[in-house]
């Protein structure tokens, strides 16, 4: 009984003044609700960015051809043509932990079919490309290893092209001309939407890299090589081996700069998520301010309450309440206010983020940790801001308190 009586005493006291209890809680409700809603929006944005990065493919290492400097002018990555098909084969053959390799060439080109034409990007890739990027087909099949070896004139096209030049016809089996070279369409990619940079990822046509090099571009070098490691754990090893292998193959002496660039997906992901992480932190900290304001509200009410109930405190002390009992009562009152306010606030925050996501179409995700954190923080606010008023109450002189009007 001794354990429960302070709780009963405090709850009875709160019950006696329902309106004030509710108004004080409102501060906490708004504070916690704001934190939950803001963190939900931030986390939602972050997961969306992460999902888009994951769509680049899992455990992927990108090797770019180096840049050339001619008469003091630096051209961009991939322009120097330092990577060859042999490099790509060597990577697949010699590096352990490599699951798939796709040599890549890339160009922008006008394409046509029937009386329609369209400007799009043409990607030359290996048959493993879709596997690496985890990009399923909507219809048809991917071209095969044989198609790559034979530099066959086959293509798979993105959904944007289907819409632009084939209207609603079934494009599979039809002919599409890339710089007047006819290619047979064997597959249609499932739609992927916009990339992080706002590019239409479905505005693409993919052909074997051999076909792209021999039949369209007439080049012998690659722009880049996509390498997929078999696990995340192996990624750094693959990255390191790759660098060593290419340096050796390109006969780059020690201390000389690489003529290629190796980047992992992690590095790209980190840059992209950093922004949304900062946004989440910013939103969360702004909302935390309202939590603190809510806490000050509790302290304010508790101070008023202590003054107003001086006589009550006197009576309690006269019948035997010790300083500790009085302190505990007021502390429990404050914590109860903040915790119940916190619980309601969590509900309000989750509800608010649901409304935001349905009204604004933003992705919203409420992490469990933020709920736990908001809850414990609100309890902490109660203890912190309730302590001073509770201590003040417990220090009252019973005689003075009894005489208080």
């Amino acid at each position: 009984m001794r354990i429960f009586s302070p709780f009963i005493i405090a709850l009875r006291a709160l019950q006696r003044n329902k309106m004030r209890t509710l108004l004080t809680m409102l501060g906490m409700i708004i504070g916690v609700g704001a934190v939950i809603a803001m963190v939900s929006i931030g986390t939602g944005a972050k997961t969306q960015v992460e999902a888009q990065i994951a769509s680049l493919g899992q455990n992927v290492v990108l090797v770019f051809s180096g840049s050339v400097t001619r008469s003091g002018i630096h051209t961009g990555w991939g322009s120097a043509g330092t990577l060859t098909i042999d490099d790509a084969r060597a990577i697949a053959r010699e590096i352990t932990g490599v699951k798939a390799v796709s040599p890549e060439v890339r160009m922008g080109s006008q394409i046509s079919a029937g009386n329609q034409n369209w400007f799009t990007s043409v990607l030359g890739e290996s048959e493993q490309y879709l596997e690496i990027r985890q990009w399923p087909l909507a219809a048809g099949t991917m071209f095969t290893e044989n198609d790559v070896r034979g530099a066959n004139k086959v293509a798979i096209i993105g959904m944007t092209i289907v819409n632009q030049i084939f209207n609603d016809e079934d494009p599979i089996g039809q002919i599409v001309r890339i710089r007047n070279v006819p290619f047979v369409i064997v597959g249609v990619l499932s739609p992927k939407g916009l990339s992080l940079m706002g590019q239409d990822q479905d505005d693409v046509i993919i052909i074997p890299y051999t076909s792209a090099m021999k039949r369209i571009q007439g080049t012998t070098t690659l722009r880049s090589i996509l390498v997929q490691a078999d696990s995340l754990k192996n990624l750094p090893v693959v990255q390191q081996q790759l660098t060593e292998l290419l340096r050796q193959r390109h006969k780059i002496g020690p201390g000389k700069d690489d003529d290629f660039t190796v980047r992992t997906q992690q590095e790209i992901a980190e840059t992209a998520t950093a922004t949304s992480r900062i946004m989440t932190a910013l939103l969360g900290s702004i909302a935390s301010v309202s939590l603190i304001v809510g806490g000050i509200g509790i302290m304010n009410i508790m101070l008023v309450s202590v003054t107003e109930r001086t006589r009550e405190i006197g009576i309690r002390m006269a019948v035997g309440a010790k300083s500790r009992d009085v302190m505990l009562q007021f502390l429990i009152e404050a914590v109860t206010l903040s915790i119940i306010g916190g619980i309601i606030g969590i509900g309000v925050g989750v509800l608010a983020s649901k409304i935001i996501s349905s009204q604004m179409g933003w992705p919203v995700l409420t992490p469990l940790t933020s709920i736990v954190l908001a809850f414990s923080f609100s309890a902490l606010v109660g203890v912190f801001f309730g302590f001073y008023p509770a201590r003040k109450a417990s220090m009252l002189d019973p005689i003075e308190a009894l005489r208080y009007e």
């Binding site: 009984m1 009963i8 006696r16 003044n17 006197g314 035997g320 010790k322």
Partner: protein, 253 residues
């Protein structure tokens, strides 16, 4: 007879605004079990201060106060609270009940701070028993503002008795009551006293003091008179007399 309270040369000096106020200047007295004492005096006579000391709300500046074998002068704040809880029952002039709190919960209050660890069931039962004893068995769930002054004072008396204190201290218990209700409360006190409850009452009304067995009169912080009441009033007789007087002027039915 058992000695319940003993004051030996108790002094109380307040320091207010750089000036020393001698509220109590050397009071020595003994209270025995079963006594009904009225402490009287004009305002400023030190009777309130003496009451606070007797009630363990305050400690004497010098001298000793032994209550039920415990020397109060040496106790800490929290130990005093425990003594008040166990050994003393308070009845105040302004009733001092918790507002918006039922009669039952008001009476339970001292039990909630008791170190005896009563279960809530036992607390409830004891509180009900006490309210029945003071004649409010049917008003357990009434709030103080739904009760008359006399009924509120009865709740306060029930609260004072619930922990079975060695002494009941009443500070002007009839100060806020009309003459009829005052006699009722005195009747209750006399009845409790007949059943062995020791009562110390502070009052400035001579007729109220006449219901007690012993009168102590204070002036300027000193006991100037300590006498046994010779013409003690009996509450039942007084009630009858008042009723017939009121009937005569058609005040009462």
């Amino acid at each position: 007879m058992d000695k319940i309270a003993q004051l030996v040369d108790v002094q109380k000096i307040y320091h207010t605004g750089g000036e020393d106020v001698h509220a109590v200047r050397g009071v020595s007295l003994e209270i025995y079990k079963g006594e009904f004492v009225a402490i009287m005096g004009a305002s400023g006579s030190g009777k309130s201060t003496l009451m606070n000391i007797l009630g363990c709300l305050d400690k004497p500046t010098s001298g000793t106060y032994i209550l039920d074998g415990v020397d109060i002068s040496k106790l800490s704040r929290n130990e005093l609270a425990e003594i008040r809880n166990k050994k003393i029952g308070f009845v105040f002039q302004g009733f001092n009940l918790l507002a918006r709190t039922s009669a039952l919960e008001n009476v339970e209050l001292p039990l909630m701070y008791s170190s005896n660890g009563y279960t809530s069931k036992v607390q409830r039962e004891r509180a009900i028993k006490m309210l029945e004893l003071v004649g409010l068995g049917k008003r357990l769930d009434h709030y103080p503002n739904q009760l008359s002054g006399g009924q509120q004072q009865r709740v306060a008396i029930a609260r004072a008795l619930v922990n079975e204190p060695v002494i009941v201290l009443a500070d002007e218990p009839t100060g806020n009551l009309d003459s009829h209700t005052s006699i009722e409360i005195m009747g209750l006190f006399q009845e409790l006293n007949n059943n062995g409850v020791t009562i110390i009452m502070v009052t400035h009304e001579l007729d109220i003091a006449s219901y007690a067995k012993r009168n102590i009169i204070l002036r300027d912080g000193k006991v100037i008179k300590d006498v046994v009441v010779e013409r003690r009033l009996n509450a039942n007789e007084e009630m009858n007399r008042l009723s017939s007087a009121q009937k005569a002027v058609n005040l009462a039915p």
